[in-house]
């Protein structure tokens, strides 16, 4: 069977130009080591966009650089026009392959400069990263993400995206972060995306919902304030059938001139489903991929950047010296802003003390203690995750410039450098109450007690 297939496929056309051979590929099953090695470049002529992707996936997954880095061209056709050329080395004119041939020569010369592939089994991520670095090196171009509605992260990276399933592209972003951290790549921000905390998909439908029943069937109305009689009501109260303009039902006068005898101080929502009234609708996101109904603040923000090779990246590619490690899930999000580990926190407090060591200073130091947590059968990783989440919840009550730290799940520290003790005290009850609610309802911590302490930032503290 296999033999039969190979046989048919080997009958496929090969074109020659300036001593270079171009293999025509129509089907992913043509991607066989023997065939790929026998040609200098490929011209892909698939029947469909899907087929095109399958061919590239097969090709890029091959083990040796001269296979997966093989120059690929497409023939200009309506089916191939939707941005597909970004994934290739350009269009090829079957009548005149001289332009393509020049590109092939350039790429080949760059491939020759590659250092030997360390056959280190450093792990999947390192392997993918090395391939990406090599690609950027041989193509002498930036890696530019392209908007793509099929991608889970809304963007498709040429070459790089083919190593991962569409549902796993989140991982690609973490590979890039790692590469940036190690100084191989330099990124430039292109876009920010918001991903589902459950499945990682950025396919989100944002909408305003009822704060009580989460229904999207809500209507917003302006509130109208009629100055002379102090009546405030939704604008529909002021509308009469068959009449233009607004009319006050309380004092029976027509409203004349906004800003003069009436204004619209705010607006209000009404839920058609549960008839709840509220001013601020709750924005929630529907995850198109997993169907999750997600509170906005739970969406994880991730950065889409375009990348270029650094000098260090260049040398790595040419020496083949890349080491793995540290790849395990670097954080994708920027949500940790303002949350520091305890040592850093102590330094910040010291700095703040020096900065504000004057009688009129306004800093406040706070502590949140959780007592009566039952942690008996909670794994450590889960505790750690909850601790981080509590930090974030605390942070959400503070100003941007405030910082939070933790000494484990039971104890949190707050540095509010711009709040007076009085201001901070106002937060105490609300913070304690809301944390308590969350712990009781979300974590079933029935016995937990939340205690919040605030004190003025002072030397002896």
């Amino acid at each position: 069977m296999l033999q039969h297939a190979a046989k048919t496929l080997s009958l496929d056309k090969i074109l020659y130009e300036e001593g270079l051979s171009f293999g025509i590929v129509r089907h992913y099953r043509q991607i066989q080591p023997g065939f790929i090695r026998s040609v200098d470049a490929l011209i892909v002529q698939p029947a469909s966009g899907r087929e095109f992707e399958s061919i590239l996936r097969e090709l890029r997954a091959m083990p040796s650089p001269e296979e997966y880095l093989k120059p690929v061209f497409i023939v200009d056709s309506p089916a191939m026009r939707q941005g597909k050329h970004f994934d290739t080395d350009g269009f090829a004119d079957l009548e005149d392959l001289s332009g393509a041939a020049e590109k092939v020569r350039k790429i080949q010369s760059r491939i020759d400069k590659l250092g030997s592939n360390p056959s280190l089994h450093e792990g999947f991520d390192t392997e993918v990263l090395l391939k990406i670095l090599q690609y950027i090196f041989t193509r002498q171009t930036d890696l530019q993400p392209q908007p793509n509605r099929f991608s889970n992260i809304h963007y498709h990276y040429p070459f790089a995206s083919y190593f991962l399933a569409e549902s796993e592209e989140q991982r690609l972003l973490s590979i890039f972060r790692m590469a940036e951290k190690k100084g191989f790549l330099k990124g430039e921000l292109v876009d920010k995306i918001h991903c589902c905390p459950e499945c990682g998909s950025a396919h989100q439908n944002l909408r305003a919902t009822c704060t009580k029943c989460k229904s999207v069937d809500i209507v917003e109305e302006d509130l109208v304030h009629h100055f002379p009689c102090a009546n405030i009501a939704p604008v529909s109260d002021f509308e009469r059938d068959g009449h233009d303009g607004l009319h006050c039902p309380k004092c029976d006068k027509s409203l004349r001139h906004i800003g003069n005898d009436y204004d619209k101080p705010s607006s209000i929502h009404n839920c058609n489903h549960c008839h709840h009234t509220f001013q601020q609708a709750e924005y929630r996101s529907l995850c198109i991929d997993c169907g999750g109904d997600i509170e906005l603040h739970r969406l994880e923000e991730a950065y889409i950047r375009q990348y270029q090779l650094t000098a260090k990246g260049n040398s790595v590619v040419q020496t083949g010296a890349i080491t793995g490690g540290e790849i395990a899930g670097p954080k994708l999000t920027s949500r940790n802003d303002g949350i520091y580990n305890l040592d850093v926190f102590k330094i910040l407090v010291k700095q703040e003390l020096m900065r504000t060591d004057r009688p009129e200073r306004t800093g406040t130091l706070g502590q949140v203690k959780l007592e009566g947590l039952s942690l008996a059968d909670m794994p450590e990783a889960r505790q750690e995750a909850i601790t981080q989440e509590i930090c974030q919840i605390i942070k959400s009550y503070l100003k941007n410039t405030d910082v939070v730290s933790t000494k484990g799940i039971k104890s949190y520290y707050l540095l509010m450098s711009q709040s007076t003790l009085e201001e901070a005290d106002q937060l105490k009850d609300v913070l304690a109450y809301n944390l308590h609610q969350i712990l009781v309802s979300n974590l079933k911590q029935k016995t937990v007690q939340v205690r919040v302490f605030m004190e003025r930032l002072a030397r002896q503290a």
Binding site: T211, H225, F227, C229, A230, S266, F278, D429, V430
Partner: protein, 433 residues
Amino acid sequence: MFNLDEFFGYWYSVGFWKITRVFWYFLTFEFVRYVGLEFFVLIVYRLNGKKRARRWEAARQALWNENPLISIIAPGKNEGKHIYKLVKSLNEQTYRNVEIIIVDDGSDDKTPIIGRSLEKAGLIDLFIRNDARGGKASGANVAMRYCKGKIVLHMDADCSFDHDAVENILVPFYMDEKIGGVGGNVKIREADTLCSKLQSIEYLKTISTGRIVTSYLGIYRIISGAFGAFRMDALRQVGGWDIGPGLDGDITVKLRKSGYRIHFEPSAVCLTTGPKKFSVLWKQRSRWSRSIVRFRLRKHRDVMLPHQNFNWSNYIGFVENIFYNIVLDFKWFVYFFDVAIHYSRFLEIILPFNLILYTITGYLQMWAIYMFSERKKQEMKLLPYVPFMIFYVALFLRSCQTLAYLRELLFKTSYKDPWNPQKSSYQAAKYGY
């Protein structure tokens, strides 16, 4: 300098008629109204206690049987810091079937953040924030628009309540179906400035007992905005609150004009923080005084004229109010000059005697207060401050009121008060509200 023998010798020698002539002001007005009438009514009220207790119990049962939804509204500016305490105080109440609506009238502090988070936590049912300030009346009105309850409780966010205050303010509605509004018993929270202590005594006199009397006589006229209850249908019928220097008197008059009865409930106790400084108190009282002129003499003067809805008790309440507040205020100056001109040589004897008369009256009133108080021990501590009351009432409050009356009568200053936004005052003045 001051000789006691001479002092009493003088009064002994002058005789009854001469004394009456010299103290006509105290005897004809203050004594008759605030001692004679008040004691008479309080004694009758006391004697009716058992009967009232039976009616009360029946009404209380009716309330619990129905257990209606009550809407609590608290409009205000920059009150965020009080909201959590208010909600906690309400959670301690015996009556719990309530919805809480807080209106933030253009606050420029953390109120919106606090309000929203309490709304999110489900501690309040609706938080309405208006970016542009509209004034207290508009705040109350927008809250009213979204109330679902049968009775509306209007309160100030900085108040706290005895645990049965909400229940007790609701019961009177079930005693008499003609009652459209019930005023709570507002007291001044314990504080240590002289200013607060004097206000405490004043509130006890004018509110805690004074209103039992006016309510009993059917001429009770101000439901405190700090703690007042209104039947929703009545409130909607009169169109809610109107703009003005004070809202409390106005809404009460409007309800009365529509034929509703107004009741004062001494057992519905609410504590508020009065101004701690005399300067702040001065401003507050000026505003209240202006509102008497603006509402009684201008907006609602029709109460005193014969027309189809004419009602004697409204008429008497109005006349009493205007007479004891405005007329007497000016008459006091007549008295002062009368004495100063005709008895100038005896001033050093007449003034201390006045002081003694007023202080004795003050202690008599304190005794009446004591009879009705639910915080006897606490309020006994105010006794040493009673002698200061004459200075507080006769000098401080009187100058404040007189000045405010004059300015409002002559210049309509209430329309310029920053307590209301300019846009509203301008329009209200234009339409003559």
